[in-house]
Subunit: 252 residues, 2 copies
Amino acid sequence: MKDIAREVGVSVALVSYVLNNRFENRINKDVAEKIRNTAQKLQYRPNQIAKSLKTNKTFTIGLIVADISNPFSSSLARIIEDEGAKYGYTVIFGSSDEDLAKFEALTNAFINRQVDGLILLPPSGSEALLLRLKAMRFPFVIADRYFPKLEAHCVNVDNLKAAYDAVSLFVEHGKKAVGLINYKTDLAHLNDRTKGYTQALKDAGVSVNKNWIRKVDISNDPPEIEKAVAALLSAPSVNAIFLHRIVLRCML
Amino acid sequence: MKDIAREVGVSVALVSYVLNNRFENRINKDVAEKIRNTAQKLQYRPNQIAKSLKTNKTFTIGLIVADISNPFSSSLARIIEDEGAKYGYTVIFGSSDEDLAKFEALTNAFINRQVDGLILLPPSGSEALLLRLKAMRFPFVIADRYFPKLEAHCVNVDNLKAAYDAVSLFVEHGKKAVGLINYKTDLAHLNDRTKGYTQALKDAGVSVNKNWIRKVDISNDPPEIEKAVAALLSAPSVNAIFLHRIVLRCML
DNA sequence: CTGAAAGCGCTTACAG
DNA sequence: CTGAAAGCGCTTACAG
């Protein structure tokens, strides 16, 4: 900008104004034209870093997913990225791998990079951290999950209702002995599925056999689920399984 | 930093020094300790933007792949990201979708964001742009592809040799009438495959029937390839097909 | 219609 | 051992 100003013989301020299309009505057309031309000639590229330092905006948003190798995460990331791009935002990613420490480290790294906001899929145990974020008024929204005691912006699916509907569908089709495979977790959105399942059966007048419910270790996902499926299939009374894991479609 | 300096009663410079662990040997241990403590207390977070403006380093690298929805791109991106993270770098992505204009726009956007360097999978026709990058001494490395007339850092696989070896394997197993499906393109790395294919058959004393070679439109990939496969399969003489497209494994 | 100047939050020669 | 000061490349009240 200094070079342009010198070449055209105006102030840096004026260069800034015309290159940002500000006060267009009260700037001399010819001067503006000349500034634009020399900017072109000198191959001027605005330094976004300097701009950010001044304006306090980086047009960057940080996204922390739970496990990037999960197709759910990657397609989510892709969509958020595309949507952000529409508004001129870059989104930078991180994967917490459901690990609290990693989640915290990523959050801090993103904040230090001055992201304008955070989209978070927080692992269990991260309430305190989120509370701190809230206290410092750092903009964030939670996706996919939620914490019942934490008031925050979030976008979720109604897991309880979804599970309720799925299980009810089984019942309508005469499958009343429905097995459930869920994760051993304290993430509310996952436990909501168990609630929906239980409620649906209850409403259908089916008394749930507790052997029908299998909770598997989330960190050892495919093999554990495979075992659980086998166990349920060999349980004589079960005639349907409610299992919510996209990746496993192929397995069944 | 100003707040810390005021609180401890030292200069901002000193705060900067101790927080960056510089001149450790000649700074008063007690003062350093006190600075670190108040930094902690005040929940100091370094502003990376300001740091970058001064140091001219963002520890960010830009990666432009050809088509992010292609598993090749996404796994590449994942690996580069992980590798970058080891060295404290964030990598930000973009997908050119093999489009020159989009490629140029992304390149500019990344440069304006002051990435420290670029990793590029350039679309055909991008030589001029790359030349400009080179002329302005902007650091970049080309991956996966190359332009014969452009000298630049790049990491590639030897497509010619790979195709040669693959086709030779067919020949060794008695399949001498090998069909080839390749893209209609002027990307050298892809045409190298045709060269390797041709050379392998030539070296085996097989005279290539030109009906064996099918070139399909890259932008209409799956259906076109499907057609080409069908065409080759119905050609009576062909007894093997060299087809280089990971995604299609399932199709055959 | 245009410019001088302060300032964003840091780093870094330089001086003492 | 420590600090005053300049400067990175911008933006933006403010004055004229």
